[in-house]
């Protein structure tokens, strides 16, 4: 009897897990990393590439965007930094009215995703 109860519980729990899995929202990482893969031809094959901190601070979505950039561009390291030659400015990361942190950089490319690549003036 106990075995039967355990099996019935297992089946119910399994079906509940399946329902939750089927109903989950699709993850966006495939799209996000594809957006940053487009940067690769413009960057050296290794080394460090800066990433601009969002002007309104880090939130879950912007952290995820940063991690997606790192995931896509490995083996380059993508730290939050303004000290590198190249700088990734994610969509909505810079102040719309003009960001003083971008002084000294020139825009290299604006991608269809809205992300931009900057390079330090020689």
């Amino acid at each position: 009897v106990l075995g039967g109860l355990l099996l019935a519980w297992s089946l119910l729990a399994g079906v509940a897990a399946l329902r939750a899995a089927v109903a989950r929202v699709p993850d966006q990482m495939a799209e996000q990393e594809a957006e940053f893969r487009a940067f690769a031809p413009y960057l050296p094959p290794s080394g460090r590439v800066g990433f601009l901190q969002p002007f309104d601070g880090w939130m879950d979505a912007s952290v995820r965007t940063h991690y997606a950039a790192q995931y896509a561009l490995a083996p380059r390291v993508v730290p939050e930094s303004l000290s590198e030659e190249f700088l990734i400015v994610a969509r909505d990361a810079a102040r719309p009215e003009g960001d003083p942190r971008l002084a000294g950089f020139v825009e290299v490319e604006r991608f269809p995703s809205g992300h931009r690549l900057f390079r330090r003036f020689p």
């Binding site: 075995g3 355990l6 099996l7 019935a8 519980w9 297992s10 089946l11 119910l12 729990a13 399994g14 079906v15 509940a16 897990a17 399946l18 329902r19 939750a20 899995a21 089927v22 989950r24 929202v25 699709p26 993850d27 990482m29 495939a30 990393e33 094959p45 290794s46 460090r48 991690y67 997606a68 790192q70 995931y71 490995a74 083996p75 380059r76 390291v77 730290p79």
Partner: protein, 471 residues
Amino acid sequence: VTAALFGLLAPVAAAWLSLAALRLRTARDSALVTGALSICIGVGLSSLATYWCVLMGVAIGRGFAAVDAIAWTAIGLVAWRALRPRGGATTAATAHAPGHLTWVDWLVRAAFVAVAVTAAATVVAHGMAAPHGEWDAWAIWNQKARFLSRDIEHWTAVLDVTWSNPSHPLLVSLSVARLWAYAGSETTLVPAVLGGVWAVGAAAVVMGALGIGRRRAWIAGAVLIAPATFTQLAAAQTADLAVGLFMVAALAELRSAVLATEEGEARAHLLVSALLCGLTAWTKNEGLVLLVIATPIAGWVAARHGRAGLVAWWLAGVLPVCMTVLWHKTVVAPVPPEYMAEAAGPAAAMARLLDPARHALVWSLIAPRVMTWGGPLAAGALPLTAAAAALAVFTRAGRSGRVVLAVVVLMFAAYYATWLAAPLDTPWLVATTFDRLIVQIWPSLVLVAFSAGDAPAALAVALASPVRPKG
């Protein structure tokens, strides 16, 4: 993908044949457990070989895959040739052939199949929704695999990616990079299939160790794979379920060493258990804790058999892997664990461990999670299974699970101590680690919980008295 499948199966088959050729598994052992052990050892040793190639500057590409395939095929052939004169006693099919099955047996097996199909569908559904896995997959494990796979000269740059947990060892990431080399691309199918392999392996160990001919093994298998957390982590492409598999395999072998009636049998089980403990430490830092806990138990097993020399077999299994772990942690990646990186020293950690307010905080955080772990409709599965395990070890047949339960309890105590001592935001730490840490010990807990019951007569005899050395 077919090539990647070959890359996965070649070392597993070589491990299976080698275990039999070296007489580390005999016809008396469960074929299901032997298969799971072969997965652990095959994947584990192939990742170690890949690591040493990486350290020697060998790119993990097509050329590497070709040489790797030849090497594992050769090892398998050598083991197979060594087996042939003995009649190839590689499986335990005859020893564990089921007797007459009643309609109840068939019903139980059918119910298990229904749960297994549901669990497989759940894993596939998660995989389709998140082909790159969960957060830790692309932030840590698969990202490390990309560094290893894409640029052999600069792969250590991943240590500068602070959120990639650089202190953790590389079994999972190396396995992914190795199979990508076989596949010729960074297909997400590779880490996805590996996640499924960890889950199937864990179920095989639990069911095989309990005796596949018995109903309780099928019920235990269903209970193991039903919780949503288990299937979610099977699809997550992370390392926690891998730890769960290696841990339960190591502990099942340690349990067999305790039950062994002959010194040779105990020696074989201790050696395999030691190797698996080492490979757990090569998977995640938690494996080092397992190693520290299991080693004195191995010493106790040796004392029980009255042969101190058995300890040497344990060390022989542990040391080769541990030397690699040590090298990685001291030379290649000398960074402290992320959860202790900002610790203010042992005194501060001890103060946090002894602070009653922190105990109250951690208990308040984990108590509701203990009750709800497992997901929808699985609430209570964890405390009920833990209670069943605690009761089981006081039964005659369930005594065999005492060593396993002791390790599980001490592992949980280590997790608890980390939650207490880590200088991080405790609610965040518990929220982001509890479910997956429990999955690490869940297969072992289920194994103990179902250890009670209809133990075979030989097992009961073995438990009744201490072992005497032969001669």
